[in-house]
Each structure stands twice: as structure tokens, then as C-alpha cells.
Amino acid sequence: MTSTKKDPVLVVLQLTGGNDYFNTIIPYNDSLYYDNRPYVKYERDQIIPIDNELGFMPTMGPVKDLYDQGKVAIIHGIGYPNSPRSHFRSMDIWHTCEPDKVGTEGWAGRMARELDPNKENVLTAINFGHGLPRALAVPGVPVAAIADLGTYGLLTGISDQSQRSLALDLFSRMYSPTVGGSMVGDYLRSTGTDAMKGADIVKIAPEKYSSTVEYPNSPIATHLRDIAQVYLADLGTRIFYTQHGSFDTHAGEAAAHPKLWEEVSQGIAAFFQDLNEHGRGDNVIMYLFSEFGRRVHDNGSGTDHGAAGVSFFIGDPIKGGMYGEYPSRKPEHLEQGDLVPNYDFRGAYSTIVEDWFKMDAKPIVNGNFQKLPVLK
């Protein structure tokens, strides 16, 4: 096993659907905010000020608390040139770091390959959710996908527990190496054994875990609790990936957006509180991103797809504060009505790869991009 307590660990939290940057970190003293958002805005007295210019939207209080402790870095104006404003294409670009062609390998999967080149740990990278996001998909790199840690495993459909353990015993024998098997058969057997091993190892995480922290009842908080359990069980997992959404608030944003951020913020607060209760917050960073921001002017009940967005780094190792510039809201500076990105997301990834994991970023993000001094 490559696991030691001090191996740096990354949690990626993807805000799927295009989070409204303009309504997340709000330039609350700018009249252009109120002019552009006749219907979809937060009232000034509810916005949580950061400084004289900017504030968190109202349900991000728990994140503001972490910010006040110096643990949150806000990355302004993130994106990439010529945003296609399409969810799928845009998410693909964020996942593969290929803005000009259709990429096949995910950046986080490439990191996993570098972190565990001999595939010693079947749990080096885990997605919490169904299947794999393209960010984690690289042929030949084992990545686990856990929809629900409590029920994760093989043949979970067999409800009778004694029958199931007999079935699992049979499975392990059926998948043990045989003499004179075909190459494909051997490959299947070793993969099945890996899968069972992974499920077996990860099973101990909830058993080992105890905490006084109560996570709120939301899908993202549940995933974050599962992540905390696996991390605290020291199974050598280096990349945790999960997502929450949908932030695609074309309509009804005034109701949906605060609820989404309430779930995310409370989940994050519980997660870090949990790590701190166990004295284990020192080698985890969390990275939050969304595939794009949203249109500056609202559409009467929501906002449409935009360009520049906001990212966050959170954790004890993070040097809190604001990085970069909030893009100009002046009409003459917008492109197709959108905030123009002024910082390339691949720079944020490079920061993670080089300054956190101490690896070469170029082959992972496909080029050289400006990093950010967000790590202590």
C-alpha cells in the first residue's frame, strides 16, 4: 500500500449545471448588479459582506465562517477562452483539459495513474455517485464508483445475509486464478478480484467511523460524510470526487439557488468539522468548480448560460483570501452578455498537481498555465 497519513488528499466537488457566479460572490455595492438582476437577485441586507465590494450570497454562511478562519480561497473569473456555453461540451473541457478537440482521458484519472503507477491500490481514486465522470475515466486506471457507501458491494441484491456471504465466498473462488485460462478470462478474474477487494476494504470505513458531527440530510452531505469515512479509515485514497446539482437555473433561480448552496455549504462545514474533530484536516484540500457562470442579465425568473465562473479552494492547508480580479460588469466589457474569464482553469488544476501532489502538471493539464499561490 502506498498509504501514509501524510499523503496529500484532494476532494473535488463539482457544481453541475453552471453555478451563477454573479449571484454567488456578489458585487453588492455595484449598481450594475441590481440593474441587471431585476428579478433574480439577493437583497442587499441578506448578502454576507466580505469587504466593501463583495459578499457571499445569503446561504453561504458556513463557507463564510471558514473564510474568516483563513481556510477559503476564492478564485475569480475562472474559465477558458471561447466558452461554448454548452453544458456537455463545457463539462467535457473541464474534465479532459481539451478545449479544441474531444478528449478521451480525464485529468483526475491521469493524476490517479501518476499517484499509483503500479496500480497497488484499487481505491486510489473514488467517485461518490453513479458511474464515473469523464474527469476520472482513463483506460486501464482502476477507479471505484460508490453511489452509497452503506450498501456498496457485490451481489447486494441477495438480501439474505447468510446466503449472500455464501455467494460472495463462491464468487471469490470463481474469480481466483486458474491454470490454462484464456487471457481475457484471466483479466476478468483479476478485475473481479480487484472489485471485490475494493468493496471489501471500503466496507470497514463505516464500521471504523465514529463522530459526533451530524451531517445535514442532503445528497451532497451524505456523499461528503461517505468521503470523510473513507478518508478517516486510511485506505490510501488520494482523490475523492463528487458532485451536486443541478445549478442549471434557467427558471426559478430565486428558490433553487439558495437551496443548492445551503446544502453545499452545510455539507462542507460538517465535513471539515468532522476532519477537525479527528485532527485530520491538515492534509486535505477541497476544490469546487462549475462548468461555467451564468448570463449577467436575468431572464425574468432565472439566468441563462454564461462564461466566467468562480472556483473555491477550501481546507487547512489553504491560504485564504481572494485571488484574481472580478471581471468587469460594464456593458462594453461583456461578451454576448457574459462576464469574460480572466483566469484559465487549467492553472487551478496545475496548482493542485504541482503544489499539492508535487507532480509535473504539464502532461496532466496539457500545457503550462499560471498557477495560484493558494497553498500555505
Partner: protein
């Protein structure tokens, strides 16, 4: 051949030429005969309608024009796969989707993706030359490979290159100049200006030929010279021996047995050269009729012998299982979920990873996808409430299945006449013996044991092959 052997062969045919069949359907088809079944699959009549789209329209109208919601489009296709009475037509649509891989990640218009699949249904078993012309005019494809950016005065080679490299001849059979010339021949083949998506949503895309943007000057392509347009280039392409070989090898890989991945085809010899030659002969002598190759292939000995020589694709696992257990015969709630299931196993329908399509064979399998496959199958076949499983249980009861040996054998038959390695079978038997004979007086327990045995068979390495 014994009746059982007939059924096993028919099960093989229906797995490959469709998405599997229940015992009842196999019996019916065996009564009709193997070659007659092949004929019916290749030439479906009006008595065999495609998927139950009227029902889908009534219960899930948004699935027919899903616009910006690709999951609904995936569910739509999955429903067609399990409800069609034209299984080969549907399987061929999936085949062409593998070859002419177009992805919603860029197209971002699920309506157009479904329209492309419909085009595959319509032309998929017809003439390959016609298919290529239709493909060249297909709006999703034009946008996917940027032919709308291919202008008389500014050539974009994306479509021209992939047409040669991935859709017809394969690499190393043409030059860079040929790519350029083909691309020039397709200048002006574009889509009509798209209407803004907002506020009314996505509008249908339409093919448009723009005479004024077409480069009508002379071109030289593979030794021929003329003022070629797109159709002329396709005429030349289909006659190339490399094309027949490339398409037939794709068909062999998809329907008969796993070949190495496409990029290796210039280096690795075909798995069965003689079989490939037979298929190529049918293709060329029929004037590039896909049906002719299919008929030769399905009726051949090499096909009949190729049982369990392919790893099932995720789509085959999901559709095959749903057909077997009789789930979603009716488009009820939860249908959205079944379109996502292949994604969890590594095959996001309508969204292949790139224009090269999916890597098949053992590359379908990794620890995550194997777990997802096994659990998906086990969750369903062990569910004795599902109609297909209830039918299997009552059939076993009336067939007098009693001993552990009977139980394993009958279960294997119901799982598609699966053939197991001696050792695996021994292990299953040992497991079955622990429960002793089936006691049909306690139908619930007996049924549960049948479900468990089916689930365990679904978990074998052998079951990953189809």
C-alpha cells in the same frame, strides 16, 4: 441437432442479431427455423413493428424530443431496444452508432442525436453507398465534425479525414492530399443557420447544400480526376477494396468475435481471414448491400461456432437483462433510469468518448464497470417479483426441476444456454447442493433459490460474454 441444441443456437443468434429473447420467443423461432429467422430479421415486415413509440409518446412525451436532456434520449433508445420487434434493425442502429460515433457532448441537441439513430434504422441494413450519402447529409454529423465550417475558401478537413479514416477505408490507404481533396468535395454541405435556442428551445437542424460555398473546381482523389462533389467521392470510396475490408471487419468484430481495437487493424491480422473474405465477397458482389453480408454471416458456420466469443457491451447487458426479466414492457416510471445504466458500465449511449467510438472487448471491463454489470444483472434476476423471473420459476416447476443438478442446468438454459468452464460449473453445483433438492411445496423458498442461482450465474466471468 437436438431440440436443446436448436434452442441454444437460436439464443446465440438472438443475442447477436438482437438483444436476446425469452424461452417462449426462442421456441417460436426454432419452430420457424434458423434460416427463416435470419430472413425475417433482415427483412422485417409491417407485422414486426419497431419500438412502441405511441405508448412512449403518451406516457413520456418529452422523451421523443428531449432537446437539452440527453438522459431522456438515452431512455428513449433503451426502450426501443427492449420493445422493438425488429431487433436486428435496432442492433444495426447500435452498430452504426459504434462506427459513425457521434457525441452529444458536442452536438448538445438530443433531438438531432435521435434523428441520427432513426436514420441508422432506416438505412442501416441497406446499401452502404446510400448510407454514406445520408451520413454526409446528417445534421448531427455535420456539426460533430465541423463540416459547417468547411468552406470553399477555407477548407476544414475534420469530416473529410474521418470519412476516410474511421467511416470507410481505414488509415494508410490514402494520402494527406486525398484528405484535402475529399474535404474540398464536401464544401458547401452544411446545416441551415440555427435559430437561437432561447426563448423557445432547440429548433430542428436541417441539411443545406450551399452551391455558392462549394468548391466546384477539379479534384484528384485516389487516382481519379474530375470536378467531384461529395457523392462522386463516395462512389470512389465504396469501390475501394480497403473499404469493403474495413466495414466487414467492423461487422465481424460487432457480430461474431472480438477483434483488436480499430487502430491496430493495420498491424494485427484478422481473427478469421477466411470468414472475413466470405463477408467481403458478399458485400462486393451484391453492390455493397449490408443485408447481403449479414445474411452470409448469420448463416455461416463461423458465426454459429462463435458462441460466447465476445464480451457483451454495456448496452447489450442492460437491454438483454431487461428483456429477460420483462421489466419495462410498459413505459412506466423509472424508465429514465434505464437509459443511464449503460453509462454506469462505461457506455454512455449517444455520447461516445470520441469520434473513434468505444473500445470494445475486454476494454469494457474494469473493476467499477464489472461491479456495475454484475450487480445490475443480479439485482434483477434475483427479484422474483419480476414477470420474466416468475415465468422462469413456473416453467422450472412444471419441467420438474428438482435436484441441485437440475437447478444449475435449467438456470443456465434460462440464462441463454450459457456454457461454463467445468470448474465454474462444479462450484455452482457445490453451492446448489448446500440447499438440497428444490421443494416446490414451499414455492417462495424454491423461487428464491432459483433467483439466487440466476444471480450467481450472472456473476460468472462466462456471463460477461455473449
Amino acid at each position: 441437432m437436438s431440440h436443446k441444441e436448436d434452442l441454444a443456437l437460436m439464443a446465440h443468434l438472438m443475442r447477436r442479431a438482437g438483444f436476446g429473447a425469452t424461452r417462449e420467443e426462442l421456441e417460436r423461432r426454432v419452430a420457424k427455423g434458423y434460416e427463416a429467422t435470419v430472413e425475417e430479421l433482415i427483412n422485417p415486415t409491417e407485422a414486426q413493428p419497431a419500438g412502441r413509440m405511441a405508448l412512449l409518446l403518451r406516457y413520456h412525451p418529452s422523451f421523443l424530443l428531449p432537446g437539452g436532456v440527453p438522459f431522456s434520449a438515452q431512455a428513449n433508445w433503451m426502450y426501443q431496444m427492449i420493445s422493438t420487434q425488429r431487433p436486428l434493425e435496432e442492433k444495426m442502429a447500435l452498430f452504426w452508432h459504434h462506427v459513425f460515433a457521434t457525441g452529444n457532448s458536442k452536438v448538445d441537441n438530443a433531438d438531432q442525436m435521435l434523428e441520427q439513430v432513426e436514420m441508422f434504422r432506416k438505412y442501416g441494413m441497406g446499401n452502404y453507398q446510400t448510407m454514406l450519402v445520408e451520413l454526409s447529409r446528417n445534421p448531427a454529423m455535420i456539426f460533430w465534425l465541423d463540416n459547417n465550417e468547411n468552406h470553399r475558401d477555407a477548407v476544414n478537413e475534420n469530416w473529410g479525414r474521418e470519412l476516410l479514416e474511421l467511416f470507410s477505408m481505414g488509415v494508410s490507404n490514402y494520402t494527406e492530399v486525398d484528405v484535402r481533396e475529399v474535404s474540398r468535395a464536401f464544401t458547401g454541405w452544411t446545416i441551415a443557420p440555427k435559430l437561437p435556442r432561447l426563448p423557445y428551445g432547440r429548433f430542428p437542424w436541417k441539411f443545406e447544400y450551399k452551391e455558392e460555398d462549394h468548391d466546384d473546381t477539379e479534384k484528384s482523389f485516389l487516382g481519379e480526376t474530375g470536378r467531384f462533389n461529395g457523392e462522386d467521392v463516395i462512389d470512389i470510396i465504396v469501390k475501394e477494396p480497403a473499404t469493403a475490408r474495413f466495414i466487414c471487419r467492423h461487422l465481424y468484430n460487432f457480430f461474431v468475435a472480438d477483434e483488436p481495437q480499430v487502430p491496430a487493424w493495420t498491424i494485427e491480422p484478422a481473427r478469421d481471414e477466411e470468414a472475413l473474405e466470405m463477408m467481403i465477397d458478399s458485400f462486393v458482389s451484391s453492390g455493397y448491400e449490408v443485408k447481403a453480408v449479414l445474411k452470409t454471416m448469420f448463416n455461416s458456420e463461423f458465426f454459429k461456432k462463435a458462441r460466447f466469443a465476445k464480451i457483451k457491451s454495456p448496452t447489450e447487458v442492460v437491454a438483454g437483462t431487461l428483456k429477460m426479466v420483462g421489466e419495462f414492457q410498459f413505459p412506466d416510471v423509472g424508465l429514465l433510469q434505464i437509459g443511464k445504466e449503460p453509462t454506469y458500465m462505461g457506455q454512455s449511449l449517444l455520447d461516445p468518448p470520441s469520434v473513434e467510438g468505444w473500445h470494445t472487448g475486454s476494454e469494457w471491463i474494469n473493476s467499477g464497470s464489472l461491479l456495475a454489470r454484475i450487480n445490475f444483472v443480479a439485482d434483477r434476476v434475483a427479484n422474483t417479483q419480476l414477470p420474466g423471473i416468475q415465468t422462469i420459476i413456473s416453467q422450472m416447476k412444471s419441467d420438474g426441476v428438482r435436484t441441485p443438478e437440475d437447478l444449475v442446468d435449467a438456470s443456465l438454459e434460462h440464462m441463454g444456454y450459457l456454457e461454463l468452464a467445468e470448474e465454474t460449473k462444479g462450484q455452482l453445483l457445490e453451492y446448489a447442493r448446500k440447499g438440497g433438492n428444490l421443494d416446490w411445496k414451499n414455492q417462495e423458498t424454491a423461487g428464491r433459490r432459483v433467483g439466487e442461482m440466476l444471480a450467481l450465474i450472472g456473476a460468472t466471468t462466462e456471463y460477461q460474454f455473449g
